[in-house]
């Protein structure tokens, strides 16, 4: 005698309040329990990697704002680092420190968003998001001061940054540094000790270190599973080898730990920022670039386009979402021959099925929130 029950297929998305963009999760349910989960991506595919092959290296920088639009700085940074690696350019010291400051500010802002939205997914009706936005806005103010934009920043340049920070930046940043730890303590006490958040996230969506590594997840997701892996320490870039900070590691690999790790990382970001503000040297912010003097033939390209030597390069950084890598192949022309983004959101998402099968719908939403995807980066 067999028992029959009709599976119930629910499409979470592409239009759904909690898929953080146009991402579709096709759940097969038995009651409230998920027995199968399919991820359907591509609703936001803009063919960036192909488009980039038609544009010069400099023109590609704005694209990198628009993949992970919640962390444009780190997107910029990873791309220009790849180009610099390809061309063998060494940015000046001040540019490296500026990049560090901007990356950490961006990390803080992005984690604000991640945690706020995660709390929203848990059902806290907008309040944590709004509180987190308050602080994120202040960081965006700093960005506006530095480069005039708030979201799609286009700040990094190949060989440095687009412009130096104005004189009022450092005092404003220092003032913010004094404010933020108090706010952070507020969030920690508000959210970490919250019985309902603990009940909703403890022991949910567990990834063991083995599984996490097998799925190649990175960033807070990997660290929450107990693997102390942070590219800032493992493969230092910018000025991270000169500052002192710790890797925040969770021990249970569940949703709660991802959230804890992000909060701890925000504290570490503040630590890095304080050191960086103290240690920032003066000097040029841009390296001298080898200008393209001879244009081969009569190719219709922009004048002064950079022509990296033939070869390939992969540069990776620790973006707020994990290992963000840019792989570039140059055929010596003004545009990359191949442009590939190793986007952490996309790869972290691959573990979603593993985490969601067997839990309830409500858990799946929280797990998706804990992965912290940006669909612009998933679909590119």
């Amino acid at each position: 005698m067999t028992l029959k029950s009709e599976p119930f297929v629910v499409n979470l998305g592409p239009q759904h309040p909690s898929t953080h963009g146009v991402f579709r999760l096709r759940l097969t349910l038995d009651g409230e329990r998920i027995i199968d989960a399919d991820m359907v991506m591509g609703y936001l595919h803009r063919s960036m990697e192909k488009l980039a092959e038609e544009r010069t290296y400099t023109q590609n920088i704005p694209f990198t704002d628009r993949t992970d639009y919640l962390a444009a700085m780190t997107g910029n940074l990873a791309y220009v680092m790849a180009v610099e690696k390809l061309m063998g350019i060494e940015p000046p010291e001040r540019a490296l420190w500026l990049r560090t400051i901007m990356s950490e500010l961006q990390r803080f802002a992005s984690h604000c968003m991640a945690i706020g939205i995660f709390a929203n997914d848990c059902g806290a009706w907008q309040t944590p998001v709004m509180h987190m936005f308050r602080d994120r806005e202040k960081i965006l103010d700093l960005f506006e001061m530095a480069c005039g934009a708030r979201l799609t920043l286009n700040y990094m340049r190949i060989g440095g940054v687009s412009r130096d920070i104005p004189p009022e930046f450092i005092p404003a940043a220092r003032k913010l540094m004094q404010d933020l730890p108090r706010r952070l303590a507020e969030y920690e006490s508000l959210l970490l000790d919250n019985e309902i958040i603990v009940a909703r996230s403890r022991g949910i969506g567990v990834l063991t270190p083995e599984e996490a590594m097998a799925y190649s997840v990175s960033g807070p997701l990997l660290r929450a599973s107990g693997v102390a892996w942070d590219i800032r320490t493992a493969d230092p870039y910018a000025a991270y080898d000169k500052v002192d900070f710790d890797i925040a590691v969770g021990t249970s690999g569940d949703v709660y730990d991802r959230f804890v790790v992000r909060l701890a990382e925000m504290r570490q970001s503040l630590r890095i920022l304080e050191q960086a503000l103290d240690m920032m040297p003066s000097g040029p912010i841009h390296a001298r670039l080898p200008t393209a003097t001879a244009q081969p033939g009569d190719a219709p390209v922009a004048p002064l386009a950079l022509r990296p030597p033939v070869g390939e390069a992969y540069a990776r950084i620790e973006s707020p979402r994990g290992e963000l890598g840019f792989y570039l192949v140059s055929d010596g022309g003004p545009a990359p021959f191949r442009f590939h983004i190793r986007s952490p959101s996309f790869i972290n998402l691959s573990a979603l099925k593993k985490m969601t099968v067997g839990v309830t719908v409500a858990d799946a939403i929280v797990i998706l929130g804990s992965v912290d995807i940006v669909v612009g980066e998933v679909d590119r």
Binding site: E195, I197, T233
Partner: protein, 436 residues
């Protein structure tokens, strides 16, 4: 002047109505005329009050929650945004009434109306003042519960007839929750009835007035259980899982737009007021306040308390995340139900002892209040600990800080279950430590 006096006695609007009815009777109208007139006045009065309150509280809730969220809230339409609810209502009225193609058309249109009625009918038995009650039923408390249950099929019909999966999920969740929390609700109210010895709401208020004690002081656990189950009934966070926005979009009313959604919205607020009114009447002394009702209009006291209770729900909505359905169900069945049962038994014993010994109320009530308060605190804390909640090991865990790259620190949380295809966590840990 004998005729005018009661008209100006605003402490109880029932007097004014009575004066009017007496006039009508004096004119020699048949018996049913004053009866019909008083019903009409009551019904229209309640309807007006409810609609105005809902409009006001939509604005208040939005402003208060905005305050909690560092926002300003509606401030464009009218002075301080006061006309925003009116504008919203107009917008809903003018929207196109969309019916999904595969919906069950009749039920789809019927559900918003059906859900509207019981929430309105509840107010008929609520005493707003000494004589301001439309129908002081003999079985008032039972009536409240019975009418509230009509919501259940209405919600189900809304969810089912939409022919939408989110709506169906929401409807199923709502039914499961309402049925579970109804039991708790009944038990909480039963304890009140045991004290007052009557199911008539007017008698319960009179009892509280007579002994100068609000039942909340005798029934801390009861009001706790009732507030929580009330939150479940009106879908307010942390128990708003039946319309959990982040999970199932809007639950059973996902497919509803325009004025049909307006009905649901209004009904939800009205149900909130109904719960607040029940709490006020049964636990907070209704329209009385230790003799204050001699100077202040009773209905003003009542409304003040009602709005204060409703504010709790606004507050919780602005602050608390949502529980999962199984957590909420186990909260009802494992936590509230046993405690409510014990509570009822305790109250029964107390009332019995009080009756048998014949102690004066001045002695008995403080003792009962103290005993119940201690019982409430001890039982809640002890039972929560027993079920493994609120203990230190659960909460406030901070991340580990390390500088060593590539080292693995892993110990799975208690109760974490590996996924179906996963490596059991403990096994992985053993393997890991073996390697190290």
């Amino acid at each position: 002047m004998t005729f005018l006096a009661p008209w100006y006695d605003l402490r109880d609007l029932g007097n004014a109505v009575q004066a009017l009815l007496d006039r009508i009777r004096d004119w020699g109208a048949p018996d049913w005329v004053p009866y019909a007139v008083s019903s009409l006045i009551g019904a229209v009065g309640i309807l007006l009050w409810v609609v105005l309150s809902v409009l006001a509280f939509i604005w208040i809730e939005r402003r208060v929650v905005a305050l909690m969220q560092n926002r300003i809230g509606p401030n464009r339409v009218g002075p301080a945004g006061l006309l925003q609810p009116v504008a919203d209502a107009l917008k809903l009225l003018l929207k196109e009434p969309i019916t999904p193609r595969d919906a069950d058309r009749i039920l789809f249109w019927m559900a918003p109306i059906v859900i509207f009625i019981p929430t309105l009918v509840i107010f008929a038995v609520i005493p707003f003042g000494g004589r301001m009650v439309l129908a002081d039923l003999n079985v008032g408390v039972l009536f409240l519960i019975a009418i509230a249950t009509i919501n259940t099929p209405a919600v189900f019909l809304a969810g089912w007839s939409s022919n939408n999966k989110y709506a169906l999920l929401g409807a199923m969740r709502t039914i499961a929750m309402l049925i579970s929390y109804e039991v708790v609700q009944v038990l909480a109210l039963l304890a009140v009835v045991l004290f007052a010895g009557s199911m008539r709401l007017g008698d319960i208020v009179a009892w509280q007035q007579h002994y100068n004690v609000w039942i909340v002081f005798l029934q801390p656990l009861g009001i706790l259980a009732y507030i929580i189950s009330g939150a479940v009934e009106i879908n307010r966070s942390p128990t708003d899982i039946s319309e959990a926005e982040s999970e199932i979009v809007a639950g059973y009313h996902t497919e509803y737009g325009g004025i049909k959604f307006g009905f649901f919205y209004q009904a939800e607020y009205m149900a909130g007021f109904a719960i607040a009114a029940i709490i006020t009447t049964l636990y907070l002394g209704g329209y009385t306040a230790w003799g204050l009702e001699k100077w202040v209009p009773g209905w003003a006291l009542f409304l003040g308390k009602l709005y204060a209770v409703f504010f709790i729900y606004i507050w919780s909505r602005g602050t608390l995340p949502r529980l999962r359905i199984d957590q909420l169900m186990s909260f009802a069945w494992k936590f509230l139900l046993p405690l409510s049962l014990v509570n009822v038994a305790l109250v029964g014993a107390e009332v019995l002892v009080w009756d048998e010994t014949g102690v004066s109320a001045n002695v008995a009530l403080p003792i009962i209040g103290a005993v119940n308060l201690v019982f409430c605190l001890v039982a809640v804390v002890a039972w929560a600990r027993l079920l493994g909640h609120g203990a230190g090991r659960q909460r406030g865990r901070r991340a580990l800080l390390t500088k060593e790259v590539g080292v693995i620190h892993f110990e799975p949380a208690e109760g974490a279950s590996p996924g179906p295809a996963g490596i059991p966590a403990a096994q992985a840990l053993r393997r890991r430590s073996g390697q190290a």
